[in-house]
Structures are given as C-alpha cells and as structure tokens.
C-alpha cells in the first residue's frame, strides 16, 4: 500500500448522508456504502497525508483511539472496491485481519472499524423500476420484439443478454 494514498474521484457520484457516504461507480455501475470511518479515510486520501496522519485525524473526529492498522484495513477495503488510485510502484499490501484487529483493539474501537458494503436492490426493491414493467425490459422478461428489451435481444419471447454486433 502506498505511503500517501490518493482517493479516486473521477466517474463517481457521491452522496453524503448522516453517518455514511454513498458512492456510485459509473465505471462499474456498482453502488457502495461507506460507514463514517471508511468515509473519513477515503476523504482524507489526498496524496499528502500518511496513514499515521489519517489515523490521528480519525482519532480526533471519532473521539476513539485509532491505530494505523485501522487505516490500513480501510485502505485495503477502499482499494478492493476500486475507490483508490492505483499506484503501480507501491509494494504489495500486508493483509490486515479484521478479526485480529478486533481482538487487539477491543470492542469499543471495533464499532468504529471501516466498513464498506455494496448496495444491491433488496429482494423486491427493483420493482420500483421493475425491469419487466419498464420499457425496454430487462433480461428474463417476456417480450415480443427486440425493441421490447434493454438488450435488443428478444429470444423466443424472453429478453436475452445483448449480443455482439455481427461483422
């Protein structure tokens, strides 16, 4: 992990909510939710602060003892979700074990550990823009013609995945 981490800012839609930050990655079309700690780490990855600087900032903001290991864990997570700029010259990161960190730091700090989760449509929430009601429709929805489908591929009455253009 690079000594002066830099957060990725391009092609992201960022929405700050109380206690968390939502990020939509336009490159991958994936949505993530950063808890307060992960969000603070991400926001402070400006290429000028070291992991130690960020840990000190976290400690000040969250009023909880923070070690650089917590920051390393956060950076590892952020990198895993593609929210940090890649640094090819950086040495490979030493994996930080969340479980070991909790054992070392105790439960009080554990509550403040950085967490990033993917936001997926809950079981039925997709129905708000139901792929089978929307026009064009999503994969697996019934269709009559190619134009009915998102993928322009109506296959045997069901929308299939998009096909490559013929050459």
């Amino acid at each position: 992990m690079t000594r002066f981490p830099i957060a990725r800012r391009e092609n992201l839609i960022v929405e700050e909510l109380p206690g968390e930050v939502l990020i939509y990655d336009l490159n991958t079309d994936k949505a993530h939710c950063l808890n307060q700690t992960a969000a603070l780490i991400w926001k402070n990855c400006d290429g000028e602060k070291t992991q130690g600087d960020i840990a000190a900032l976290l400690q000040h903001e969250l009023k909880t003892p923070m070690s650089t290991q917590v920051v390393m864990l956060g950076l590892e997570e952020l990198a895993g979700y593609g929210l940090l700029q890649e640094d090819a010259s950086a040495p490979p990161a030493t994996r930080v074990s969340r479980r070991r960190l909790i054992q070392n730091l105790g439960l009080t700090t554990a509550i403040a550990l950085p967490v990033i989760m993917s936001i997926t449509a809950p079981a039925a929430a997709g129905a708000a823009s139901d792929p089978c009601i929307a026009n064009p429709r999503g994969i697996g929805c019934p269709c009559m013609s190619d134009n009915d489908c998102d993928s322009f591929n109506c296959n045997g009455g069901v929308c299939g995945p998009a096909l490559r253009p013929s050459r």
């Binding site: 839609i13 929405e15 909510l17 939502l22 939509y24 949505a31 939710c33 936001i119 997926t120 449509a121 809950p122 079981a123 039925a124 929430a125 129905a127 708000a128 823009s129 139901d130 089978c132 009601i133 929307a134 026009n135 064009p136 929805c141 019934p142 269709c143 009559m144 013609s145 190619d146 009915d148 998102d150 322009f152 591929n153 109506c154 296959n155 045997g156 009455g157 096909l163 490559r164 253009p165 013929s166």
Partner: protein, 364 residues
C-alpha cells in the same frame, strides 16, 4: 392470499405509509411482526425508501426488515442523483432542436418529498406538444436507451389534461442541478398524479403518497377552482384526494368544501387495500406478459384475459364514470371492450411480425 387477508395487509401498508412523505413523519407504531409482513410489499411497490423514512427513528430500525428498507433508501438516493443528471441532458437535447418539454411524474413528484430518494422513478416522463412529438422522438433516439429511459408523451391527454397551451402557460421553470427544467403548475401536477393513480387502478401506494405530498405542499395561492373546476374531469382528482385523506391521513383542511372528500363509495377503499395487500397487484401481472404471448400459447389465453380484467377504479376512471355506489360492472365491461378493440386493431401487424431471432443469432 384470500381477499379478506389481502385487505387486512393492505390496511397495514396504509398505516405504515401514513404521513411518511412529511419531513417529520408521525411516530411509527406498528409491531415488529407487522413490519416483517409489510416490508416486502412496500419494497415490491417502490415504497421501500418511504418505509425507511417512517421507521428510521423507531425502535425497530435495526431489524432485518428495516435494513432491507434502508438499502432501498440508499439505492434510490443514488438513483435519484443519477437520474437528475440524465434529466438535464434530455432537456438540453430537446431544447437544442427547439422543443420545450415538460417533465411530469418522477422527479416532478419527488420534489415534494423531503428527500428526492424517497420517491424512486425508473424512467423520465416527458410531455411535448403533439406537433413536436415526431421531432422529439427523433432527437431522443440518439440517447443510449440503456441509460436514458425516456417515456415520451404526445400532449397531455393520457393524463386527463387537454389544453396544451394553457398547461404551458401555467407551467414553471425550476432548477435541477445546472439545468432549468419545466414542470406543470401545482394545480396541473396534482391533477396528473391523481389521474395517473386512478387510471392505473391505484395499485401502487407510492402514487397515493404523491397525491398526499402534492396536496400538503399546495402554495397559498393554489387555484382550487381551476384544479377541481370541470366536474367530469375532476372526478378522479377528487377521489384520489379523498383516498389520500382516508388511507394516508393527508390533510385536507385547506381545501374549500373539504367535507366532500370524506364521502366515498363503499367499494373504493377495499379495492385499494386489496391491491396493496395482494402478493402480486393485478396491473403487475398484466404488464409482465404481453397479451400476444398469451394468444400464441393458446392454453394460457384464459390466464391472460383474467389478468386483464380491470379493477373498479381503473375501469371507472378510463370510462369517465362517476365514483358512486352503482355497480362497476358496466365500466369494467366497457374498459375491456375498448382495450380488446385497440388490441385487435394492432394485432395483424404484431402477429405478422417475424419471430425476433433464433438462439445464438448475432445482430446489431
């Protein structure tokens, strides 16, 4: 689910959503079991975020059903941000070819909520003057259909409104990000969300919340005479307002002659609750499978017809009927005949269309 049970569940959904569109909704007083039961229905009807707004300050906020609603809230919040930039691009594109569109439903309804993510919308509903429709459709064809789901409407007749120029004259420009978008005036907006709710058989509680939110945000100078003026046209609007008051507790004190919104035919509320409490709303089943597909698979024809039987609210609205105690059957038959006729008119073209494609065929 039996009808009585569906109605009881629908009543729970109504209790869940009562006042949910307000910045400070009333305290959540359903039990954990009720929350577990209704959360999937809220999610399937696009009201998950609104459900979270209601439950977020209660003792049940951390249970698994509430967490599902919370996820919907997060998702719709991001969706709303994405859609806002898309709306700006659609307006810019149409203005480039000299067309001034009016945005309806979707964001136009969401702006009456405390946060726009509370009111999700899958597509961008745009109305243009009938004369501009063809050019607008051509201009929008350049957009990526996977990212821009634009539902372009020719005029406003589909929403029970007719006088285009009056609607434009009463419309207003509001700021959305870096763009000024045109929306209907407050009176016409209330008419559109009400008519849309009723024409679709009121199967989505979110649409009734739209009516409630618009109603409670009416400006001081709201012209009730214009909004409810023409009696026949105003029937669905009056009924929708009445439903918002009876089921969701929308405040109607500021409306002149408010007492008229407390009277309703006996069949009205049960019809709505039945839709809200059913595992699959009637309209959902209808839209999921096109009739032509039922027709091609003969054994399934009966099923297709069953799903297309309109509920009393849809039938009455589309047939311009009065919402009274008389039986709804004539309107339901009328609505069905009208739709059958429309279907048959388009059938030869659709039937003769060559099969879409064979498996594995590469195209485009």
């Amino acid at each position: 689910m039996k009808t009585a049970s569906a109605k009881a569940t629908g009543a729970l959904v109504a209790a869940f959503l009562a006042g949910a569109w307000r910045p400070k909704p009333p305290a959540f007083d359903l039990s954990a079991a009720d929350l577990e039961k209704t959360a999937p229905l809220m999610l399937s009807r696009g009201a998950g975020a609104l459900g979270w707004w209601r439950v977020r300050e209660s003792g049940l906020q951390s249970c698994s059903a509430a967490e599902e609603l919370h996820q919907a809230y997060r998702l719709y919040t991001l969706d709303s941000r994405l859609n806002q930039s898309r709306i700006g691009k659609v307006f810019a594109l149409l203005r480039l070819v000299g067309i001034e569109p009016i945005l309806i439903k979707g964001w136009a309804a969401a702006r009456y909520y405390p946060e726009q993510g509370l009111r999700p919308y899958g597509d961008i509903d745009i109305c243009v003057r009938r004369d501009d429709y063809h050019n607008a459709a051509c201009a929008l064809a350049s957009l990526d259909p996977l990212r821009f789901r634009v539902d372009l409407h020719s005029g406003f007749a589909k929403f029970g409104l007719r006088q285009e120029e009056d609607l434009y004259a009463r419309s207003e420009l509001v700021t959305l990000g870096e763009t000024d978008v045109r929306i209907l005036g407050a009176e016409d907006h209330l008419r559109v969300v009400s008519y849309h709710l009723m024409r679709e058989g009121a199967w989505r509680p979110l649409w009734l919340a739209d009516v409630a939110a618009a109603l409670e945000s009416c400006p001081r100078n709201f012209d009730w005479n214009y909004c409810l003026g023409e009696r026949r046209q105003a029937r669905p609007v009056v009924t929708a307002i009445s439903l918002a008051h009876l089921l969701l507790g929308a405040k109607i004190e500021r409306i002149p002659e408010a007492e008229r919104f407390s009277k309703n035919p006996r069949w009205l509320v049960p019809t709505v609750l039945n839709e809200w409490g059913a595992p699959t709303p009637s309209m959902h089943s209808r839209q999921a499978v096109p009739m032509l597909q039922h027709l091609r698979h003969h054994g399934d024809l009966l099923n297709g017809l069953r799903h297309r039987w309109p509920n009393p609210i849809e039938a009455t609205t589309t047939m311009n009927g009065p919402f009274n105690e008389l039986p709804r059957l004539p309107f339901q038959i009328g609505n069905s005949l009208f739709r059958v006729a429309t279907f048959l008119t388009h059938l030869p073209k659709a039937w003769n269309k060559p099969p879409s494609n064979l498996p594995g065929k590469a195209k485009r």
